[in-house]
Every structure is written in structure tokens, then in C-alpha cells.
């Protein structure tokens, strides 16, 4: 780890150490009234009572946020899904229809993703089309300029060139706050040239 990374690690550790004291301070009152006094023992007592009286399934089913399973729905994000999508994916035969994408939303961006064989596996071959409020990718200075849907796009390598992770980032200002787009290809095994040619073909197919 670099010195900076070690410093970040220590800072997070120090911050985490504060929480035991901070929870003793009063919690803010929201519009729905005071938040429950969050205490571990109380939680145990409450759940024990509920479980004994009402039953585990009935009580706990009302609370969401189990670990998400692959393919589960996502919460609403700040950006709508792009109104266009690729008509070419590298693992499809010519003429094969592009399947419906997976949606991934997070604060400030929405991603449509297509996975080879339909398996939601981020390590495997996939294409991701993102719209976001800001250019997410790394420093764009010095990257290759390519054309995407009219505007100039910038072709950047996420990670090291030659491992098949390549992205084209561009902006469509008329799209408002979510004006930044990127199309990403991850396909291990491709050479840098193959990945570059493939992402350009995917970008050309956006419609």
C-alpha cells in the first residue's frame, strides 16, 4: 500500500472508533417522530417478543434489504435509463436480437448491462451502457477521440490496456443533468486491438 492508502486506512479506522461514543448523543427527530433509541439490548428484546408472539415470518417479512440476489430490481436513481441501446454485442451472431438488459441504478447514474449467456457475472464478458451526472471514468486527458452518436467521445482504458476493459465516454448536453454517457466492454482474452475494434463496433450500433 502507498503512504496515502495507509493514511486512508488509518483515517477510516479512527473514524470507526468514534461511533460507540457518538450513538450516545440524541438522535435527530424526523417528520415521522423520533428515531428509535438504537440499543443492542433493546433490539434483542423487541425481536424476541415479536418472534414469540407474532412469528418470525410475519414480522421479519415486512423489512426489506436482504442481500440482493442476481437479477433483482434496483432502486430508483437520479438518471433515467438511456433511450438507446447497442444493436450489436460481440458474443451474438449477426442478426441475433439483443436481449433485454439488466438495470443497475445508483446515485447519479443508471447502467444497462448485457452479459454473455445471460449470467450476471461482472468478471465475465459484458457490455455496459451508463448514463450519469458526471464523467465517471478516470482522467480523460490525452485519450483517443472517437465519434459516438455524433459527439466526440473519448476512448479510455479502465485498468491496464490489453486486458479487454475499455470504455468510451461522451457527453450529450441536450440530455440535461444526466448528460454523460459511457459504453464499456469487458472481455478478458481480447487483445487491446480486438477490444478497441469491438467497442467501436458496439458504439456504432447504438440506436
Amino acid at each position: 500500500l502507498s503512504e496515502l492508502e495507509q493514511r486512508i486506512r488509518r483515517a477510516l479506522q479512527a473514524q470507526a472508533d468514534e461511533v460507540d461514543d457518538l450513538v450516545k448523543e440524541p438522535a435527530p427527530r424526523g417528520p415521522e417522530g423520533p428515531r428509535p433509541i438504537a440499543r443492542f439490548a433493546l433490539a434483542i428484546a423487541v425481536v424476541s417478543s415479536f418472534v414469540a408472539v407474532v412469528g418470525t415470518a410475519l414480522v421479519l417479512r415486512t423489512v426489506s434489504d436482504q442481500p440482493a440476489s442476481p437479477g433483482s430490481g434496483a432502486s430508483s436513481g437520479d438518471c433515467p435509463a438511456p433511450s438507446f441501446m447497442p444493436r450489436f454485442l460481440p458474443w451474438l451472431d449477426d442478426g441475433d436480437p439483443v436481449p433485454a438488459p439488466e438495470h443497475v441504478t445508483e446515485e447519479g447514474s443508471t447502467v444497462l448491462a448485457w452479459f454473455e449467456d445471460g449470467a450476471r457475472e461482472w468478471r465475465g464478458p459484458y457490455v455496459a451502457l451508463r448514463t450519469s451526472t458526471q464523467p465517471l471514468e478516470k482522467d480523460l486527458d490525452g485519450s483517443e477521440i472517437v465519434q459516438v452518436r455524433g459527439p466526440d467521445g473519448q476512448l479510455v482504458w479502465v485498468g491496464d490496456p490489453g486486458v479487454g476493459e475499455v470504455t468510451i465516454v461522451w457527453q450529450e448536453e441536450e440530455a440535461g443533468s444526466c448528460s454523460w454517457y459511457s459504453i464499456h466492454l469487458s472481455s478478458a482474452g481480447m487483445t487491446e486491438e480486438e477490444a478497441r475494434a469491438t467497442i467501436l463496433r458496439v458504439a456504432d450500433s447504438l440506436a
Binding site: 438522535a27 408472539v53 471514468e137
Partner: protein, 163 residues
């Protein structure tokens, strides 16, 4: 009212796990009360799922619950944190007993957007790999790298500005 001894036994020996996941929740949210609630919620989910909370490996499950919950309630959590921060000086009688926080206390991390913050916390507090973070946050590894690059870059610049 009958209290379920068997149900209570599910939590036996789990306080250490609770404190650990609350620490994670706090660095993820920046709000101690939200963190406390998330940690409790995670423990309840784990109990429902029959997870052995005395097993250190249960931390992985708890971390997933907390991360998902924070991700899905981002705006609410942010508002609660702002409310808490606004309330603190009013609550404190006299000078704020909390010493001024240096830039190294994690305040920079608090200021990061959710994606960058989550990636930084999971990478440097939880020691997860890029792929593990990608799986947990359900985002491409390339996006994780971008978030990390952006987050660490902001921290570096903030540190540089402070010096």
C-alpha cells in the same frame, strides 16, 4: 409477554459482531444513529436467515445487508446525517466537547459521493478486492476502479490543500 429464549439464543455472543458491523455502517454512512439502526437491522436479518452470529464469517453477510440498505436509502441517510450534524451544536451545552477533526479523521471520506465512498471504505476498511466490491455493490469492476481512482484522487487533493 412471552420472550422467546430460543430466539434470544440466536443473538448469544453476537455483540462483538454487532459492534464490528456498526463500525462499518458508520464509515459508510457518516451518521452514528443511522449506522446503529443499520447494524441492528442486519443482525435481525441474520437471525432470520439462521446465520450463526458467533461465527466471524457472518460479518460478510452483515456487511452485505448494511451495504445494500445504505445503497437503497441513500437520500434518506444523507438527510438524516445532515440533520444530525445540524443538531449537534444545539445539543452540546457550552463548547463542543468534540475536538476539531483533522482532515485525516475520515471527514474527507464522508464528503465523497456514495459510490466512491463505498468503494474506498470497502477497499481500505474492509480489505475487499476489486471483484469482491464489484459483486457486493453490483457494479462492474471497471466502475469500482473508477470510483476508487476518483475517491483516492479527491482525498489526495484534499490532503494537498490542507498541507
Amino acid at each position: 409477554m412471552v420472550t422467546g429464549t430460543r430466539e434470544r439464543d440466536r443473538f448469544a455472543g453476537s455483540e462483538e459482531r454487532f459492534l464490528a458491523i456498526r463500525r462499518v455502517a458508520y464509515v459508510l454512512t457518516g451518521d452514528p444513529h443511522t449506522a446503529d439502526g443499520l447494524a441492528q437491522e442486519a443482525l435481525l436479518r441474520a437471525a432470520e436467515a439462521g446465520i450463526d452470529l458467533t461465527d466471524p464469517r457472518s460479518h460478510t453477510y452483515l456487511r452485505t445487508v448494511v451495504t445494500n440498505a445504505r445503497r437503497r436509502t441513500g437520500r434518506r441517510a444523507t438527510k438524516e446525517r445532515q440533520a444530525w450534524l445540524q443538531r449537534r451544536p444545539q445539543h452540546a451545552a457550552g463548547p463542543d466537547p468534540t475536538p476539531p477533526r483533522s482532515i485525516g479523521s475520515g471527514e474527507i471520506v464522508n464528503s465523497l459521493p456514495w459510490g466512491a465512498r463505498a468503494c474506498v471504505v470497502l477497499r481500505y476498511h474492509e480489505d475487499l478486492s476489486i471483484n469482491e466490491i464489484a459483486d457486493l455493490l453490483e457494479m462492474p469492476p471497471g466502475t469500482v476502479k473508477s470510483h476508487l481512482s476518483r475517491g483516492v484522487g479527491r482525498i489526495r487533493r484534499a490532503l494537498g490543500e490542507e498541507r
